[in-house]
């Protein structure tokens, strides 16, 4: 008998402990976002306005986000913030649901060029969050006359012995390698991928290649002097520079002449989102003029929100937050891949990783 009661007691005890979290009646919004990408005050404001709790989870790269959604996340998160080239993939796999535009009146605030993006015609599934660029960050003390080129990473003659890191997202890394070979960033033919992958494998075997690093941690490595060149995002660069001006004094952000990535991050609602209504409210909240501006002023990314324009700080109107016209000419979207092309790319990339 005592063993029965003991088992029963243990079960009761555990369900009590496990249950307390789940039974708290307050509604929750599960936000799955990039690291360092949200002003905590905006979260507080949203929580107060709707009397809910926001639970935040973070990812460092899109493959990581996509894998989590596949592994059950699609029914656990209410909002995700993928970049343009993952949007079609998410729609095709059925991991996201259509937006109900009637619940998001603030969609009207979105700038015309973001209203009908090529990756999601008619914004059926996605609403823009922020946009920015992925460039090269390097140490100006180490490289006083650095060429404005990806060769700072990929050419052993230009950078024979200072450690550098390359972005962990295969498509962005291969894009940069394409750039280093003099091809456009958005190269997507098999031949150019092959050449880029070859270059990548050679680069990887160099002594001063320090590893694959995602955008945000790459900046930390640069700031601590672990690496001297890396790849990161313009807004993150500005944000951390503001946090720690001393460490970033000799770090510069550049869009290499050969071309680089421009991206739009969009808010989407996973297909099995537990609180889709609240998710719509959240999207609408972010697209508010003042909140949109607050977001950009916090994380230094350009805003896709036309109504937010008047409230934006000066730093957001100049490079690197707002690329120059020259730079705009060489900036490209990362191609969205699907079907056999995606599989081919993934095989190439896993070959690069495994070597």
């Amino acid at each position: 008998m005592s063993k029965h009661t003991k088992t029963a007691a243990a079960v009761a005890f555990c369900s009590l402990l496990l249950g307390t979290g789940a039974q708290a009646a307050e509604e929750k919004l599960y936000l799955f976002n990039w690291t360092e990408y949200m002003d905590p005050e905006i979260i507080t404001a949203f929580e107060q306005k709707y009397d809910v709790e926001v639970v935040q989870n973070y990812y460092n790269s899109l493959p990581e986000m996509f894998a989590k959604l596949n592994a059950g996340g699609a029914s656990q998160y209410d909002i995700i913030v993928p970049s343009n080239y993952y949007v079609p993939r998410l729609i095709k796999t059925g991991l996201v649901q259509k937006l109900d535009h009637s619940k998001i009146p603030n969609l009207a605030n979105v700038k015309a060029q973001f209203q009908d993006p090529s990756f999601d015609p008619g914004s059926e599934y996605s609403a823009p969050y922020q946009w920015g660029t992925t460039g090269m960050v390097y140490n100006t003390e180490t490289f006083p006359d650095a060429p404005n080129s990806w060769s700072l990473m990929f050419d052993p003659k230009v950078n024979p012995d200072y450690p550098f890191a390359i972005m962990g997202d295969g498509q962005v890394a291969i894009g940069a390698a394409c750039g280093a070979l003099g091809k456009p960033y958005d190269c997507d033919t098999l031949d150019s991928w092959r050449d880029a992958a070859k270059l990548m494998i050679e680069t990887k075997s160099r002594d001063n290649f320090s590893g694959f690093t995602d955008g945000t941690p790459a900046l930390q490595q640069l700031a601590r002097g672990v690496t001297h060149v890396g790849m990161s995002y313009n807004g993150d660069y500005l944000y951390f520079k503001g946090e720690d001006p001393e460490a970033f004094e000799h770090l510069a952000f550049a869009i290499p002449d050969e071309g680089a990535e421009m991206w739009v991050d969009s808010m989407m609602i996973p297909s099995g989102a537990p609180h889709p209504d609240l998710a719509h409210k959240f999207i609408n909240f972010i697209l508010d003029a003042k909140i949109g501006a607050q977001l950009s002023n916090y994380n230094y990314y350009a805003s896709p929100n036309a109504a937010a324009e008047p409230y934006l700080e000066e730093a957001l109107r100049q490079p690197p937050a707002q690329p120059t016209d020259e730079e705009m000419k060489v900036l490209r979207f990362t191609p969205s891949l699907e079907g056999e092309k995606l599989q081919t790319f993934q095989q190439l990339w896993s070959e690069v990783q495994a070597r």
Binding site: S2, K3, T7, C14, Y58, G72, S75, Q76, Y77
Partner: protein, 270 residues
């Protein structure tokens, strides 16, 4: 003869030196973590002064506190369940040790020999599929408890089993005469006799749970990050000195556990 002792003592001296070097090797990484947790600046390369600022930040960080809570709940729940189930199986193995229980032994060793990564990924893939089909077992603390119990059961069972094996079999006969019902035997005889085994099995389960990262990582849900998962995320995102502070607290807990086990040992010896 003299020569030999001389040689021996020089060998011994070399061994002693090697012993201390190994100790340095074992404790240096932990010492660095502890040292830098008191660093005044956010630098991983140099100490600029002593301060407690990272500990203050820690207390204010809700996520870390939640992760701490999750770690404790997970370790406690899984250890309790594993203790009950493992204890039963350990006793069953002892009582029926004359039967052919080869399949049971294989089953019990399986969680021990399976590589962590295969363990974690199987569970993840299984839970995802199971959830898709039934809507139950959504990744979260529940699935983590299940996974942890799975790798704790064998250790509990083996500890309890070996305790029973070490007992004098006539004790069981005596207990049968003394207490009329099986329930009474369990309460007044069995549980008290295997108490030391139960205690050490519980602590081992608890430690295994807190120590696990890979299996937790693959079975966790949005709200169930444990301290190791949080630390992993922080490392991946770029090192924050807070990690040193959390890690130091965890190292402190381990040091305390070590001290307790030492005292326990001493007491038993004397």
């Amino acid at each position: 003869m003299r020569k030999r002792t001389l040689k021996r003592s020089s060998l011994r001296r070399a061994l002693t030196a090697f012993w201390w070097l190994t100790l340095i090797f074992l404790y240096l990484p932990l010492a660095v973590v502890v040292l830098f947790s008191f660093n005044a600046s956010n630098s991983a390369a140099s100490m600029t002064g002593l301060s407690l600022r990272w500990y203050h930040q820690l207390l204010g960080n809700e996520q870390i506190m939640a992760a701490f809570g999750n770690t404790l709940i997970l370790a406690l729940c899984s250890s309790v369940i594993a203790l009950v189930i493992g204890c039963l199986i350990g006793y069953g193995m002892y009582r029926h040790r004359h039967r052919k229980l080869g399949w049971l032994i294989v089953l019990i060793y399986l969680p021990i020999v399976l590589p962590d990564i295969v363990f974690g990924i199987s569970e993840m893939a299984f839970f995802v599929q199971f959830h898709r089909l039934t809507g139950l077992l959504q990744p979260g603390l529940g699935t983590m408890v299940i996974a942890h119990v799975t790798f704790q059961i064998p250790f509990v069972a083996l500890i309890v089993y070996s305790r029973f094996v070490g007992l004098d079999p006539t004790l069981f006969e005596a207990a049968k005469d003394l207490y009329a019902t099986p329930a009474k035997r369990v309460v007044h005889f069995m549980l008290p006799t295997i108490k030391p085994a139960l205690i050490s099995a519980f602590f081992l389960s608890f430690t295994l749970s807190v120590d696990d990262f890979v299996i937790s990582f693959f079975t966790a849900g949005p709200e169930s990050a444990t301290l190791p998962i949080y630390i992993w995320g922080a490392i991946k995102k770029g090192v924050s000195p807070e990690i040193n502070a959390i890690a130091t607290l965890m190292i402190g807990a381990v040091a305390m556990a070590a001290a307790i086990s030492l005292l326990f040992n001493r007491k038993r010896q004397s």
